[in-house]
């Protein structure tokens, strides 16, 4: 790897964050200026050698490029005056770790601002915080380079034009905005997980690690990192040799990555020491209990049922209730789990909700009601969206 490639990977996000702050949050201009600086580096470093501190060189060069662009722009004078920044290039940049970290954190909150569309938040975070190239992001989201470039350009323009602030939100906004940031990281992970593409999973974990370093006292940050690490530890067993998804119950636990799971459990313990567990820490605790069980049957079902009950209280959703019903069925008997599902099924909006029918089928089978299970499987199969989903349900149906 050349010095330039290494700088692109290691320094780009920090340079961009610093320049964005110096430009009062003008992310669109900062992105252009940083790109200019890397173009300049390709020429200069080749001719005069790699500078001692590539990050410092890139930052001063990008700042100079930003000022050049401002001067050339039609409104150069007015804006340059607004900025009221000293025009000396080299001396006044703060390359202290703590200052770079502050800018990185501001960048994360800006990229995940709720005024941006959810897909734009993910793409912008991957570009401006994780430092992925446009081509890498386009590939991860099965999009074309040009479409992804347009999405990113539009998002950066909105940050600039709408004046989305470049800052860590004040205390009254922080809980809600931090939840939004964690949601973006979680969605990046599930995007990779759902499509069995590991690259996005790894990026999400890197982002969660960065957040955990920048916000060491936030319990839900530690909770999210724990959840992702434990889930990642099980990923090697999630797909069989033919490429089909394998349910947790049927996974070969010998293939799990024990080191990743242990990392996740340690992070979970940190989260639990910080505060009462939030939704991510609870999900991490559930994932950890599954990962510590030698077999599906030996799982600590009573504790998992209790954790799902707590999760349903904090963050209610049908899928949480279904999971609780399954856990209760294993802990206390299928009839108890079915009673929870029947309550849920009384809601007409869930009539065509596949997971509900699939869970009912499974619990009816365990309760020994073969006819009822068959009817429920048929209902679930009729709702399946993909052939893989249909095939998995058919396989379960024939076991009845």
């Amino acid at each position: 790897m050349s010095a330039l490639e290494r700088a692109y990977r290691d320094e780009r996000a920090a340079v961009l964050a610093t320049i964005t702050r110096r430009l009062d949050g003008d992310l669109a201009l900062a992105e252009d200026a940083v790109q200019d600086a890397f173009v300049a580096a390709a020429v200069e470093w080749d001719r005069r050698g790699v500078p001692d501190r590539p990050g410092a060189w890139l930052t001063t060069t990008a700042w100079r490029k930003a000022l050049d662009r401002l001067r050339h722009a039609r409104i150069a004078e007015a804006r340059a005056a607004d900025l009221a920044q000293p025009v000396s290039y080299d001396a006044d940049f703060d390359f202290e770790r703590s200052s770079l970290d502050d800018d990185q954190l501001r960048m994360i909150f800006t990229c995940c601002h709720p005024a941006l569309a959810p897909e734009a938040r993910m793409a912008l975070t991957l570009r401006s915080v994780a430092g992925l190239t446009v081509a890498e992001i386009a590939r991860a989201f099965l999009s074309s380079d040009s479409a992804m470039e347009r999405r990113l350009t539009r998002a950066r323009r909105k940050v600039t034009e709408a004046a989305i602030p470049f800052r860590v939100p004040p205390d009254d906004l922080l809980p809600e905005r931090l939840a939004g940031v964690l949601r973006v990281v979680y969605l990046i992970y599930t995007e990779g997980h759902g499509s069995v593409r590991g690259d996005l999973c790894e990026e999400a974990i890197r982002l969660a690690r960065l957040l955990a370093r920048l916000m060491p006292d936030e319990a839900e940050v530690a909770g999210l990192l724990a959840l992702l690490l434990v889930t990642e530890g099980r990923r090697p067993a999630r797909v069989d040799d033919a490429g089909a998804l394998v349910a947790l119950e049927e996974q070969d636990r010998g293939r799990w990555d024990r080191a990743a799971i242990a990392d996740g459990v340690a992070m979970l313990e940190r989260a639990l020491r910080l505060r009462r567990p939030g939704p991510y820490a609870i999900q991490a605790a559930i994932a950890a209990l599954h990962s510590q069980a030698a077999t599906w049957e030996a799982t600590d079902w009573p504790q998992i049922a209790g954790l799902y009950a707590e999760l349903a209280r904090l963050d209610p959703s049908p899928v949480v209730t279904i999971n609780r019903a399954v856990a209760v069925a294993f802990a206390a008997g299928a009839a108890h789990g079915l009673a929870i599902l029947d309550d849920l099924g009384a809601d007409p909006r869930l009539e065509s909700y596949l997971p509900l029918h699939a869970a009912r089928a499974e619990l009816l089978r365990r309760a020994g009601d073969a006819a009822g299970a068959d009817v429920a499987y048929a209902a679930a199969i009729a709702l399946a969206h993909s052939d893989a989903e249909r095939a998995a349900l058919e396989r379960r149906r024939v076991r009845v």
Partner: protein, 116 residues
């Protein structure tokens, strides 16, 4: 940074005159005072809903039509211009308008180029 807040409501759940509407008018008036005291108020007005006229001249000849430029379920009934630090501040003011509970508030940043 100046923002235009476009306030809409849905005519199908139109509030009839009565104590509820009086209470809402009271809240609008309080909000306007609050904006003036905070030094963010620039301009505001209510808009009639049924008397819009749209003018176009696609090929040079003026075409005048009755009604707003686009038929939508939500009707624009008022606008406010505020001058605040950033989008978070604009969102915070939008949240305080009664319109967010029964309609919507669209926040449009005013183009910095046109202000000079």
């Amino acid at each position: 940074m100046q923002y235009l807040l476009l306030l809409t409501y849905r005519p199908e759940d139109n509030t009839q005159p009565g104590p509820e509407l009086d209470a809402e008018m009271e809240r609008w008036s309080e909000l306007t005072d609050e904006m003036r005291q905070a030094g963010v108020w620039v301009a505001a007005a209510g808009l009639t809903s049924d008397s819009a006229t749209t003018v176009r001249a696609p090929s040079g000849d003026t075409v005048i039509t009755d009604g707003p430029y686009a038929e939508t379920k939500e009707v624009l009934f008022s606008f406010i211009v505020i001058d605040v630090e950033d989008l978070d501040a604009a969102i915070a003011w939008a949240e305080k308008t009664p319109a967010v509970t029964y309609g919507s508030v669209e926040i449009r940043p005013m183009d910095r180029l046109t202000l000079k």
